[in-house]
Symmetry: C2
Subunit: 347 residues, 2 copies
Amino acid sequence: MVRDSGACVSVALDAMGADLGPEVAIKGADLVLSGAVPCKHKVHLSIYGKESAVLPVLGKYKLVEKNSVFIDTPDAVLCDDRPSFALRHRRKSSMWCAIEDVKKGVVASAVSAGNTGALMAISRYLLGTLQGIDRPAIATVLPSRKGSFVALDLGANAECAPGLLFQFAIMGRAFARAVLGVEHPKVGLLNIGAEDTKGTYNIQEAFALMRDAKQDINFYGYVEAKEAFDGVADVVVADGFSGNIMLKTCEAVAGLTLHILKKEICSSLMGRAAMRILRSCYFKRTSGSALDVRSYNGAVLLGLNGIVVKSHGSADATAFAHAIKEAVCVISQGDMAKEMISEVSNG
Amino acid sequence: MVRDSGACVSVALDAMGADLGPEVAIKGADLVLSGAVPCKHKVHLSIYGKESAVLPVLGKYKLVEKNSVFIDTPDAVLCDDRPSFALRHRRKSSMWCAIEDVKKGVVASAVSAGNTGALMAISRYLLGTLQGIDRPAIATVLPSRKGSFVALDLGANAECAPGLLFQFAIMGRAFARAVLGVEHPKVGLLNIGAEDTKGTYNIQEAFALMRDAKQDINFYGYVEAKEAFDGVADVVVADGFSGNIMLKTCEAVAGLTLHILKKEICSSLMGRAAMRILRSCYFKRTSGSALDVRSYNGAVLLGLNGIVVKSHGSADATAFAHAIKEAVCVISQGDMAKEMISEVSNG
């Protein structure tokens, strides 16, 4: 893995992946470069996409044009491409070329809003997994009552053997150190109760592995979904199926709650008056709010020989900027991968 | 199953299960009897508990005292009793006696806020499952952008074979007809994507069973957690593990969203002014709000020869009243069980 020397880090942007088109990535880059979405480090960008689609947009964002190189890629991964199809037939796509440049060390990381399955397959194929890691996992940061926590896997592996869940614990700890800045992250295992008879066979076996680990993984034990959002652990390990259900339910219910709240408040005269005040002083500036789901955009494919960040397909520019920020944050913690390898091999 | 003739339905209350003590059930009953939490039918109650704990409370609620019989039970199931222990050693508990009276036909249903595992085990043991149903499931109603939907299983069966998930679809449909009043409920299967390569083996096999069913189950296909809360289906079928994760995440994130919102609004002077108005006109009367999680209290143990409703252990009186209301609603749909049996046997 490349670690940028000095304060400038290089990020590859797949400009073709977002549902809303190439402007998402480029305007997102502009928000980062201009400081509207603040980043720890100076960023230099490599932008991958079809010339005809990207160059006209790039012309509108002078700051991005000045601080980037553009790489014309004739093909793009489509949202309904199967991973196996993308692996065989999309080798000239923006996604492929961006990840290939991570492998070559041309850039330190890649960010894409494209097809998750294809991104995972191409990343695994080109970068390979870290020594001792069987399969990569998707990880992100979610909000809790105490701040935030790292959750993984969020959908890369629907079914997980106990040993894989154990690897996720180690990967999640290294990731939490990097992005949350917690030195000794507490690791919880997602379950449907605290009693040791609860949950599936795989979860119960993973519990035993974590409890008896030679490595000190600071194991908290089982956490229920409610406790995860209370903030009892810094890392919540799950199989990709239940992790994905937790993530998607979280996003859906946060939106639904605000939707119902606004509707109910506006059903009375007094409520509408209060809402008018809130619109001027609060809802206008949600971009800084902990409730702005866009600020949680950017899931990292952990366990690879290189850094790849997945943005939501439906991301807007602000959300995409947060995915870039996430990539920069992980790059600047250059020893995350080394840490994972050393902890896994200590087992 | 007993169906009450006339408009008065009889409900057994386990007064010993709630974390906050017997007053929860009794005050909850008072809210129903007084009409504060409105019910479709007149209710007569049988209250089960330890005399020393219940009678002093009962004396404070004259309306409940007048419309109930009290059954002194010397024992109670504890929250950390294992199901197998409760089955063997809690045969004189309030929970056991309440369910036994459902079996005998003395009451039409039982409501308990006690230990879920014990409640499920005792209910299964005493009532048995409906013909053609292998295992009961826990079902409840959750809010969506279009109103509400039925979700099951919420934790009774952590691992589910495809055939069991299919039975849940049929049970969920009958339940949705009863509690949502939808004549032809759409059934969705919870998954982590819409593509047919997504999800676990069991989910993919269950998909095939539902798609190819002889019965018309009005199968919508896969739903992601986000779509479930958008309201694309009336019934969302899941294994008990992911269903529980969805339920607990929903409850946690609804609370977390309001928590963050209030904190952020109150961080500015204008926001505090708006909040003062909202407190007087909105947050005061949350008992009627779609955001009041208490109104979703009451999960039904489906697939049994009798109606048993589980209240949250942490329920307050208002929440418990909603669990009673749920029981009454299901009782008044006396043919739900018959419907399940006939549809399962048609397969």
